[in-house]
Amino acid sequence: MLINSIAVLAGLGFAVGVMLVIASKVFKIDSNPLIDDVASLLPGANCGGCGFAGCAACAEAIVEQGAPVNSCPVGGFEVAKQIGALLGQEVTESEKEFPFVRCQGGNQHCTTLYDYHGVENCKVALMLCDSRKGCTYGCLGLGTCVQACQFGALSMGEDGFPVVNKALCTSCGNCIAACPNGVLTFARDSEKVHVLCRSHDKGKDVKAVCEVGCIGCKKCEKECPAGAIRVTEFLAEIDQEKCTACGACVAICPQKAIELR
């Protein structure tokens, strides 16, 4: 019985294997060998950060459809350089962008509406009710972005905020896509001044729920010597092209909602 079982299964496996080998020869496709070469240079994480279905699809797009050689945000400049060498294209380095948390309400400064005991996921919490926080724009702090990161670059900080570890971050953008409130956006390292609030509510409403939210008072707009700040719908926005990082707005902001880093 035992011998028979082993023999049958082994024989079955062997027969199937032979059949598949023959089939793979019969149905062989002649693909561009360059695609495989490019694919072997890509990280193989299949994270989707490039906007294609996976690393194989990205390689195909680079070779056949003329997608840029730096399509892969995870591989970064190094991979782009190697692919460029393979395809005979010059590659210039562009500055890397990292996810940036545009909220500082957290558990300390922003009111909490109710105790949430459920799945630790911001999307689920949002389905239950508009927000578990007083502010409907801010970080819910349940870590959906942390779960979305395949590279372990995000973690939950003490105050219920995601913290970005730039050494591990690959700029794939999965966390940004995962955040239901759009709290995370890309920011370059050379961009020094940031508004740490996303609330478009009126100043009075912001003050009612959050100690550090932008109230749209326009003091920064008047103070900025470069004219880089504009307040639209009660929220200051910084034009990073014009900003000289002089720090005037940071000093004047009554809510401490602008950060110079």
């Binding site: 079982s5 049958v8 079955l12 199937v16 598949l20 019969v26 496709i29 279905a53 699809a57």
Partner: protein
């Protein structure tokens, strides 16, 4: 012959519908029904795999496993057969319909672990079907899968254009609502063929 081929066919398509009555193979039901094209491609592949699997597993079971009294190996043996057939289908689709291959993506290899296929061949064995009955049931199960997949894809394509309450959401949540309603309507087929 206990059951006529026609009865087996109708049963396979409607009364024992694999997706809506037996709840087998739901991952592809939700995953590949976003548009009609990939749903029909996936269904075609499943019909082919089910028909082939019914034939091959019948031969394997009755000519190898039963004479050797190794019936208990049927599950693992069938899994091997199905996996091999899926690989074969993958080769063929990749060679001849590359567009379909890309749109199916991960779901094509997932037929390997599609419980609907394994369910079909195991039900064949449990019901003691002969070769003709097995093949008819396999094809019928595949067609039942196709019917459900195409209906689902058609509904989802249309419902993409309408307003859906935010609390219901889109995507998977919404798909399961549709699936539930479709399943309830398929229960009405139970009375169509009188059970002997």
């Amino acid at each position: 012959m206990a059951e006529s081929l026609f009865t087996i066919f109708l049963e396979g398509v409607f009364i024992k519908n694999f997706l809506l009555i037996q709840f087998l193979g739901l991952c592809s039901f939700v995953g590949v029904t976003k548009d009609l094209k990939s749903a029909s491609g996936m269904s075609g592949a499943v019909v082919f795999v089910m028909a082939m699997a019914a034939t091959v597993s019948f031969a394997l079971y009755n000519f190898i496993l039963v004479p050797l009294k190794l019936e208990f190996l049927r599950t693992i043996a069938f899994i091997v057969v199905i996996a091999a057939l899926v690989q074969l289908v993958e080769f063929i689709v990749r060679k001849h319909v590359p567009a379909l291959y890309r749109s199916l993506g991960i779901y094509l290899p997932l037929i390997t672990t599609n419980c609907a296929v394994l369910g079909a061949v195991l039900l064949n064995v449990m019901n003691d079907y002969d070769l003709a009955q097995s093949v008819v049931f396999g094809v019928a199960a595949g067609l039942g899968y196709t019917v459900a997949m195409l209906m689902m894809a058609a509904i989802r394509e249309r419902s993409d254009l309408v307003e859906v309450p935010k609390s219901v959401g889109r995507g998977v949540t919404y798909a399961f609502f549709i699936a539930t309603i479709m399943s309830m309507s398929f229960v009405n087929f139970f009375g169509v063929i009188p059970l002997e």
